[in-house]
C-alpha cells in the first residue's frame, strides 16, 4: 500500500461508494481520490451528490456499498469523531454554531483545554485566536456568535476545523457568504496547507474560485462520477458542459393544444413584489393563463420563498394582482379564495400531515365546503376522495391509509390531489418531482400539460434543468432573491440557465 503522506499517494480514497435516501440514489458507484498536497474542487449541479459524497468521506453518512480509505488503510465503522481524530476536518454547508456562547467556546467545544476541573481560559483564548488568525478573521474571540454576521460565522466554522491541525480539510460551500478579500485569504490558507503536504477538498458554485484555487477538479452528475481533470486541462465552459450532460432517462410528454373554451389573459401580475423576512424583492412579471413559467437558479436563492409569499404562507408586499383580486394575501385561505394554491417543497413537513389518513389530508383545505350544519358530509367527501384517488392513480387506493406509509411518489400525488380539490386558477409547484420515481414524474408532467391546456397557469420551481427546459415556455432565473434573467423560446437551454445562475453568483 502507498505510504502515508508520500507526495502523490492518496490521503483519502473512496472506492465504489453508493448511497441512497428513501427511493433516491444520491451517489452511484463513485470512485474518488484525494492525493496528498492538492486542492481538489468538487463540481456539479444541485442534487449531483457532492454534499453526500463529502459526508461519506467525513464519516457522517455510512455508504450502502463501497470502501473508504484513509492514508492507505481501509476504514470500518467510520464516525464523525473518528474521522476528526484521523485528521479529516469537515465543515458543513449548514452552520452549527451556538449563538449564545462566545466564539472561543464554540471553536473549542468538546475539546477545551483544562486546568484541573476548570477550563483554562487563557489557553482557550490563545488557541481560538491562533486559528482565527489562520483564516484571516479579525473577530474578537470573546464575542457572542449571536452578534456575528453570516460571513464571520462562516469563518468561525472554518477556524473550528483548523483546530488540531488537520491533514485534510473538507469544505462544503465555505465561501457562500464571504467577500472577495475573505475568499482570497481563504484560498491563501488552502495553498499554505498544500505546501505542508495536506490537502483540501471543497465545493463551490463560483467558477472563478475553482480556477483560482484548485489543482484538479472532479465533476459529478446525477450521483455519478463524470470526470476528474487537472485544472489546466479544462475551460470553465467545458466544466459546465460536463456538469450538465444529457438526461437520457426522463421522457417528457409533449405540449397539448389549448382547449377551445379555455380562458385566456393574465392570470397573475406582479410588480415590485417582495417577501418579508427574506431577500426576495423587486420581482416584476406577469403570468398568462395556459402558461407554464419556470423558476430556476441555484437552490436556496429565494425561489421557494417567492412561492410562499404568493401563496399567503409568508407576508409579502408590493403589487400583486390575481384576476380581479388584489394581493398580497395574509393567509393561505385568502390566497386559495383568490385561486392561488401551492404545492410545498417539503411534502413531509409542509405538504402533508403524515400521521393522518389520506382522505383527511385530501380534504383538509376544502372542509368548509363539505359541511352540512357544522358536520362533515361523509358521503360527499367520500365521493370526492375516491374520484381523486382514481384520477391520480394513488396507491394504495384505501383512503384510510395513513399518509406516512406511502411511497414518496404517492405522497406527492396526495399533495397534488389536495391542491386540485381546491380548484385554483394558479398552481404554484415547488420542486414537485424531487425524490420521486420516474413513472410518477411522468404522470405529474402530463398533469402539468393538461392544466396548462385547460387555461390554468402554472409556476414551476425546479432544480432539475431537464424539467424546466422541457415543460416551460418561459424561465426566470433567480439569485439572491432577485430575478436576474428571463429566458424565452430558443434561449431556454440547460446551458443558458446554468450560465445565468453562475454568472449571478460570481460577485
Amino acid at each position: 500500500m502507498d505510504q502515508v503522506g508520500t507526495p502523490g499517494s492518496p490521503l483519502i480514497e473512496l472506492r465504489g461508494v453508493q448511497k441512497h435516501f428513501g427511493g433516491v440514489q444520491a451517489v452511484r458507484n463513485v470512485d474518488f481520490m484525494v492525493p496528498a498536497g492538492t486542492i481538489t474542487g468538487l463540481a456539479g449541479e444541485n442534487g449531483a451528490g457532492k454534499s453526500t459524497l463529502l459526508k461519506i468521506l467525513a464519516g457522517l453518512h455510512q455508504p450502502d456499498a463501497g470502501e473508504v480509505w484513509y492514508y492507505g488503510e481501509l476504514q470500518s465503522g467510520l464516525t464523525p469523531a473518528s474521522a476528526k481524530k484521523a485528521g479529516i476536518a469537515y465543515v458543513a454547508q449548514e452552520l452549527s454554531l451556538f449563538e449564545d456562547l462566545p466564539v472561543s467556546e464554540n471553536i473549542l467545544i468538546g475539546q477545551e483545554p483544562m486546568r484541573g476541573p476548570f477550563v483554562d481560559r487563557r489557553r482557550l483564548l490563545a488557541e481560538a485566536q491562533r486559528v482565527l488568525d489562520l483564516v484571516g478573521s479579525e473577530i474578537d474571540p470573546d464575542m457572542m456568535v449571536r452578534d456575528l454576521a453570516f460571513a464571520d460565522r462562516q469563518l468561525v466554522e472554518i477556524a473550528k476545523a483548523m483546530v488540531g491541525s488537520p491533514r485534510v480539510l473538507v469544505l462544503d460551500e465555505p465561501t457562500s457568504g464571504l467577500r472577495q478579500a475573505e475568499v482570497a485569504r481563504l484560498i491563501g490558507l488552502m495553498k499554505d496547507l498544500r505546501q505542508t503536504g495536506c490537502s483540501v477538498v471543497f465545493i463551490t458554485h463560483r467558477m472563478g474560485e475553482f480556477f483560482e484555487a484548485c489543482d484538479r477538479m472532479t465533476i459529478l452528475r446525477d450521483g455519478t462520477h463524470i470526470a476528474t481533470v487537472g485544472i489546466d486541462e479544462v475551460t470553465p465552459g467545458e466544466v459546465v458542459d460536463l456538469m450538465i450532460g444529457r438526461q437520457l432517462t426522463d421522457a417528457f410528454p409533449p405540449p397539448l393544444q389549448m382547449e377551445p373554451d379555455a380562458p385566456t389573459g393574465d392570470a397573475l401580475v406582479l410588480h415590485d413584489f417582495s417577501v418579508h423576512g427574506t431577500d426576495v424583492a423587486s420581482v416584476t412579471v406577469s403570468l398568462q393563463r395556459g402558461e407554464v413559467l419556470g423558476i430556476a437558479g441555484l437552490a436556496g436563492n429565494g425561489q421557494t420563498e417567492l412561492l410562499e409569499g404568493l401563496a399567503g404562507v409568508r407576508k409579502a408586499g408590493g403589487g400583486y394582482q390575481v384576476g380581479s383580486v388584489a394581493g398580497p394575501f395574509r393567509s393561505v385561505r385568502a390566497a386559495l379564495k383568490a385561486g392561488v394554491a401551492l404545492v410545498p417543497e417539503d411534502r413531509k413537513r409542509h405538504g402533508l400531515v403524515l400521521a393522518m389518513e389520506v382522505y383527511r389530508n385530501l380534504t383538509l383545505p376544502v372542509l368548509r365546503t363539505l359541511t352540512r350544519w357544522g358536520l362533515v358530509d361523509r358521503t360527499r367527501e367520500g365521493g370526492l376522495v375516491d374520484d381523486m384517488i382514481r384520477t391520480l392513480q394513488i396507491t394504495p387506493s384505501d383512503p384510510r391509509v395513513a399518509a406516512e406509509s406511502m411511497s414518496g411518489g404517492n405522497q406527492q400525488k396526495v399533495v397534488i390531489g389536495k391542491t386540485l380539490l381546491t380548484e385554483p386558477d394558479v398552481y404554484l409547484l415547488s420542486d414537485p418531482t424531487r425524490g420521486i420515481d420516474v413513472k410518477t414524474k411522468f404522470e405529474i408532467y402530463s398533469l402539468i400539460r393538461r392544466l396548462a391546456a385547460s387555461g390554468k397557469a402554472v409556476v414551476l420551481v425546479s432544480t432539475d434543468l431537464a424539467e424546466i427546459t422541457s415543460l416551460c415556455s418561459r424561465v426566470l432565473v433567480m439569485a439572491s432573491g432577485r430575478v436576474v434573467a428571463e429566458l424565452s423560446g430558443e434561449q431556454i437551454t440547460e446551458r443558458e440557465i446554468t450560465r445565468a445562475s453562475f454568472a449571478a453568483v460570481a460577485a
Binding site: 451556538f98 449563538e99 449564545d100 467545544i109 468538546g110 483544562m114 418579508h276 423576512g277
Partner: protein, 318 residues
Amino acid sequence: MRPVRTYLRREPSVPAAWAVLLVIVLIWLAGSSVSVLSVTIMIGQKVPLVLASIGAAIVIMSRGIDLSVGAVLTVVNTIIAAGTAAFGNSLAWIGVGLAVALVAGLVNGLCVAWLRLPPLIVTLAVQSILLGVALYVLPTPGGAVDAWLKDLPLVLVGPFPLMLLIVVAAPLLIWYPLRRSRFGTALLSSGADESAAYASGINVRRTVVSSYVLSALFAGLAGIVMSMNTGSGDPTIGVPFTMNTIAAAVVGGVSLAGGRGTIAGPIAGALVVSFIGNLLFSMGVNSYWQYVVTGAVLIVAIAIPAGLRAIRAGRQPS
C-alpha cells in the same frame, strides 16, 4: 475591566434586572422604617426563593422545566420539622431531606433525558408525589427545629447578615466554577441545540440529568433555609414557589427556549419577585394583589421580548 465589559455586553438583561431591583428597593425604602434586625430577617426570608430560582434557571437553560421545585422545598422543610420534633437532631434530618431531594432530581432527570418523557408532565407528577410525601410526613403545620438552626438567620458576620453573604456568595461559589467548567458550556449548548451539541462530543444526557439534580439540590437547600426562617414545617409552604422561580428566571433574562442565561440574572429576578410583596405592603395595598402582580410581571417579562421579535420577523404568526 475587560471581562466586566464583555460580561455586560453579553447579557444586557442582567444589569437591567438589577436596575429594576434597585428601583424597587429604593421605592420601598422610602415608604418603610428599617432597622438592622428587620432588614436581616427580611433578607433571610428572601433566600429560599433565590436559591430555588438558581436551580430552576439551570434546568431552564437546558431547555427543560422543573415544576417540582416548590415540592422539593416543601418535602425537605417538612422532613426536618417532623423529624426533629419526633427524634431531635436536625442535622441528621437535613441529610435525609437532601437525600430525598437528590432522588427526586434523579428521577426527573432520568425520565427526561433517558426515557425522553416531556419535562412538564414528569416534574408535575414528581411534584404531586413529593407533596403527598410532605403531607404524610407532616399533616399539619408544626414540628420543630433545633435551636442552632433557628438562630442562623440572625447571625451577623461583621456588619453583614450571614444570609446576605449567602445570596452574594451563591453565584461566586457555585455558578462561577460551574460556568467555567465544561459543564457550563455543555449545559448551554445542550439547551440551544441538542443534536449539534451531541455532534460536538457533549454528553447531553449526562448534562440534562445533572441539571435536574442540581435544581433539586438547590430547592433542597432552599427548604433548609426555610426551616431556619420559620423554625417549623408546613406542607403547603412550597406551593407558590414554582411559579415564582420561573418568573425569577424569566425576569433575570433566562430564555425559556434554553441555551442562554446567567445566574446573576435570576438572583436579581428572585429578589424582584419577592420584593413585590414588600412593596405592596409598604404602599398600603392589599397583599392579595401580590398574586396578580407576580403573574402579570411574568407575562410582561416574556411578552415584551417575544412581541418585539414577532414584530421584527416578517413571517405571519402561525
